[in-house]
Subunit: 393 residues, 2 copies
């Protein structure tokens, strides 16, 4: 019997709870709103196939060789130019590092900033993937309540003043899990509160392209150029399977981030970086994401309407302006774990909100994903869910 002496940090490793949920959600006959996938039917497979063929024809050998840690320069130039044009942020290619989807930013930001016991700020509820990634660096995670007005600014100011977190991690655009978008005033106030404190704003913008009205929102980074890092991803707007994301950060942060990235895996998949750049050069990304966001918006409205019509009194929900998720607050006394278990029996899977509440809470919340089911499935699945909740209320 071999004894394995794991590091203490692995005690903080996420339980397999979520994996188990996803497994159950995938059973035949179950309509799942539990996952977090974009709709694969909306991926521009033909356009990407053309780009792949052109790369293999013209520069396959180079695209298949090792490359540099920072990432394919033309791709970083594309990302920087898009920031300048869409959001008025003065980004250059040299301000950007390519990573394996924005999940890798979570790991590397934690790695370069967190000593064990350091304080990290987050929204409550907050993104589960971030809680999992940060936890392995053994910080103290402090949370600020999030509602439709954004993070509670009084609690936010007190946390920054009293606990001096290394950074506050937030998703101002169509947050995961809540679907909440910070109002503009909250963004400006957050920048004002952080300026000069030494607490960075770590702004995760996985969903900023998916506003149903097609209008970009100004990032906090714009008001706090040296005190914020901004991460993005092609997973929700082109294709998740390529695992290509990026971070835009001030130079001193980027240098440490680059060293950590090099030690972690030398560089991100170079072949897909070249393919992605080729694809983006020949496509109208803005038009593509407008179409995808439009479809997600219809699905979201269908889901919201059924919640309002069929769920029992005492139910509440968020009102997403974009993204892929909304959050339901069940009537008092209705447990999300009961809804999950009974839902699977009746053919609908939802994600209990508990794991999104670092430090506890959220027992009466569920997260619903509206991007990866068509209108018919949403109608049928939500009727099942309504039956389940009425049965438990």
């Amino acid at each position: 019997m071999t004894h394995y002496r794991f590091a203490d940090r692995m005690i903080h490793a996420p339980a397999s709870f979520i994996d188990e949920l996803f497994r159950v959600s995938g059973e035949p006959g179950v309509i799942s709103f539990a996952g977090g996938l974009p709709d694969a039917a909306l991926i521009d497979v033909e356009g990407i196939a053309r780009a792949v063929a052109a790369v293999m024809e013209e520069e396959g050998r180079c695209a298949l060789q090792y490359s540099t840690t920072d990432g394919y320069r033309p791709l970083r130039e594309y990302i920087a130019a898009r920031y300048r044009r869409r959001l008025g942020i003065p980004a250059e290619a040299d301000d950007i590092q390519i990573v394996n989807g924005s999940q890798q930013c979570l790991d590397l930001m934690a790695k370069i900033f967190l000593n064990p016991g350091d304080v990290v700020g987050m929204e409550r509820p907050g993104y589960l993937g971030a809680i999992e990634a940060f936890s392995l660096y053994e910080p103290e995670i402090c949370t600020v309540p999030l509602d439709e007005e954004g993070p509670d600014l009084q609690a936010f100011a007190a946390m920054v003043r009293d606990r001096a977190p290394k950074f506050f991690y937030g998703i101002p655009n169509s947050q995961n899990p809540s679907g909440i978008t910070y109002p503009e005033a909250a963004r400006r106030e957050i920048a004002r509160l952080l300026d000069g404190t030494g607490t960075l704003f770590y702004e995760d913008d996985a969903f900023g392209d998916l506003f149903f009205d097609g209008r970009p929102r100004e990032p906090v980074k714009k008001y706090l150029p040296e005190g914020a890092v901004l991460s993005g991803s092609f997973s929700k707007i082109v294709a998740p399977g390529m695992r290509i994301g990026w971070i835009l950060a001030p130079q001193p942060v980027l240098r440490q981030f680059n060293a950590a990235k090099q030690a972690a895996d030398l560089h991100s998949n170079f072949f897909c970086q070249v393919v992605l750049h080729r694809y983006l050069s020949g496509t109208d990304l803005d038009a593509h994401v407008r179409r995808v966001a439009g479809i997600y918006g219809e699905r979201c409205r269908t889901m919201c309407d059924i919640i309002d019509d069929l769920l029992p009194p005492g139910t509440a929900r968020t009102t997403p302006e974009g993204g892929m998720f909304l959050m339901v607050f069940l009537p008092p006394g209705v447990s999300s774990m009961d809804v999950f278990r009974e839902g699977v029996r009746q053919g609908v899977a939802v994600l209990p909100g508990v794991p999104f509440y670092a430090g506890g809470g959220g027992e009466e919340t569920i997260r619903l994903n509206f991007s990866n089911a068509d209108e018919t499935s949403i109608a049928e699945g939500m009727e099942r869910l309504a039956r389940v909740v009425r049965g438990l209320a």
Copy 2:
């Protein structure tokens, strides 16, 4: 002026020394033996192009969606079957986790095993990428001298007994930087010494397919099934730009490794995993690597012959049986940094061995890469190097 409060571990981040060397090595007119690239001219671009086209045609949508953390099952089955057939190791798909090249194994193994101050064993000289990856977890790196007989077994036994390292990291096949291959007796003895101690053997096998004689060597893992993990990579045998490697590990280790991988980046590039599997299904990988290894073998012999003929007395070198590197021991008093600087002036770049010696030493050693220059360049570059060393001796 914004003040950034980085984690203490970043003090251990690698200096930019190596990046600087590589930059200089890439200047026009310089023949470089400093890098570590396989020869891109030997990548089967046509075969990969066919696989890519077939994947896009038949399963593009699925290959571009999110996937599971463990990796594409058919690819893991291929790897497991190859272990069974080539090396007689009873591996199954469920014993394997896909990663971003074997560099990511270094990061994740350190992450799941090392508390600050823990002892890690390594060869001296040892792989620089491993030193860099491990250092960010703040271990004490203890080294055992490596020569053509393998690691010094007396020192190895003493380290295991007195310091109880969490794991010993080694490259038994064509080690980087030395090119040394452990004799079989050393492998058996290492397994015997580690059995039941709680010190794992972390066996990095990036080069095991590249023996010039085409004969596989038995891994330590074979003699120590529960006490060793074995990492591999397609970077040197198919294409580095895809960044696909793997780890074969006992189940308790694999579970922690999988949790760390999920937190690090969810999963490796799924598109390339599917493409790679499609390519491997339609190609004779053994024949391909025999051809590549044969060519590298000729280049290695050319390089060795010139060293023996033209370098001044007092020079010594290793005798690789495979891989991509050999090590030169300069005549006493000749500094590798002087050889590097004067070499670049005279149009040849080498890598000083110093950064491979954790804890110091190696000032009179250089690493030479023979995989990424053709015979003509090797002849010309080695003549330049001989002139440089003779001038300094």
